[in-house]
Amino acid sequence: MKESRFLLFSLVFLYVFLIGPFFLIFLTSFGSESIMTFPPKGFSLRWFAKVFTVRMFLDSFWISLWIGILSTLTALILGVPVAYALVRHSFPAKGVVEVVFSSPAVVPGIVIGFALLRFFILMGNFPLVTGLFLGHTVILLPYTVRVVSAALRNFDPSVEEAAVSLGASPFRAFFLVVLPNIRAGVIAAFILAFITSFNNVPISLLLTGPGIATLPIQMLIYMEYYFDPTIAALSTLLILLTILIVQGAEKALGISQYV
């Protein structure tokens, strides 16, 4: 039975290491001192209140939200057909297509950000927001393609073929038969892609300018100048939100199989 105790220990160690730090953030976010210390002294909610009054957090929250939603939708609209082609069609250069559509997730984000900055923003005079939108869309594509592909593989093609043989156009068959059946996969793709965009730092890092910064970048900037627990409070809120989404998505969709 010694082995199983060792297994239990390793399991506990893993989980303490993975999520223990989050509990410490929760604790510090309630401290009343204006500098982060541990253990926190006193109890106060003022850092949570401050999160909602710091102007740059509010502005960047909306930027992150919009960039996230728009890029995720675009990546889905572009990615679903690609996934469909990869799963249902066989064609010569399939391997190349696969590589091309996964490489944005392989190439370091900061390199993509740097390339977009040089090529589109500085040379092409694109507005920063456009650069952010394009960069995010590109790095989300691999996620939507992969997750939707997985969902398509689990869906029996004969159902769709039956619909086509009954006279439906492939187009109609896709929307009436395939899409409703891979709905869970599409929603999982949306959630994963949105979280990826909302949390992204490397792409957004260099695509930042006056008045334009995503929330994670704004948090980094704030951390350079202030050491109060506002960041802890904001982190607490973000972590709680993430737990809600991940738990919900895991229960409803089994999202961990797509990560």
Binding site: S10, P21, F22, P81, F114, M219
Partner: protein, 275 residues
């Protein structure tokens, strides 16, 4: 049917390809070309030759590789027994365990890394505890050290290793182990002789992902390493934002991209079925 399929294929692939081609391949190709461009528009390797001799680049490059190897090794060591334990729990509990494992992957990287400031800071958990216990008098500097970066990266990338190992171990029927044990093999022997070889695929996948992630991560070294412990990613940021040295930045970009793509392609070659 087959004919209409062939006609729809370009339609399916075209929009996505245009997007990736125009906004990903093209800018990267531009960077690649620029990295070889010398004075007067001739192709040259001078940027590389110059920068690779720069001790700063050299040091940062080696340090980044060291971080990658260290994090991969540590995460494999920690994950192996824990993943085995997860793989052998019953379904309901496993789902909960897995959803907790992926939490760090889903959390805002700034929030996640900030937690380590709470732990490692001058007035953080470790220093305060050690001082209360009388182990140390003056607080130790734990932040902005190589150790801090490795610990932060480990928390970030452990989940990838665990996910891959668990899914590999799930496919090993428990009967094999039971058979081995009924033949008198102690459990740790059956673990080493059966589980480890049969989950090697998961280990390879996990290792490549963890290694690639570690050598390209930005937020963790930026916050926990600062300007003292630079990695390739933070050096790229510095060359761009602080020094505006496009030449050096393109060289770092090409080096990082080259390593990441090479590893990915190797992985595809050796194990064509990436699930």
């Amino acid at each position: 049917m087959e004919l209409s399929r062939r006609r729809t294929l370009p339609l399916l692939l075209l929009p996505g390809t245009l997007c990736v081609g125009g906004f990903f391949v093209l800018p990267l190709a531009f960077i690649l070309r620029e990295s070889f461009l010398g004075e007067g528009g001739r192709m040259t390797l001078s940027l590389y030759v110059q920068y690779i001799q720069d001790p700063k680049f050299y040091r940062v490059f080696l340090r980044t590789l060291k971080f990658g190897l260290l994090v991969t090794l540590l995460s494999a060591l920690i994950s192996y027994p824990a993943s085995y334990a997860i793989a052998r729990t019953e379904r309901g509990k496993k789902s909960i365990l897995m959803s907790i494992v992926i939490l760090p992957l889903m959390t805002s990287p700034v929030a996640r890394t900030y937690a380590w400031i709470v732990i490692l800071g001058r007035f953080g958990l470790i220093n305060q505890t050690a001082r209360a216990l009388g182990v140390i008098q003056e607080p130790l500097r734990l932040l902005y050290t190589e150790g801090a970066v490795v610990v932060g990266l480990l928390q970030l990338f452990l989940p990838l290793m665990v996910l891959n190992l668990v899914s590999a171990m799930e496919n090993i029927p428990p009967e094999i182990e039971e058979a081995a044990q009924s033949l008198g093999a102690p459990r740790w022997v059956s673990f080493l002789k059966i589980i480890v070889p049969l989950s090697a695929d998961g280990l390879v996948m996990g290792s490549v992902l963890v290694f690639t992630g570690s050598i390209t991560a930005y937020v963790t070294p930026a916050i926990l390493g600062g300007t003292k412990v630079l990695t390739l990613a933070t050096l790229l940021q510095q060359e761009t934002v602080v020094f505006m040295n496009w030449g050096n930045a393109t060289v770092i970009s090409v080096v990082m991209t080259g390593m990441a793509l090479l590893l990915y392609l190797l992985l595809r070659k050796t194990r064509p079925k990436i699930s």
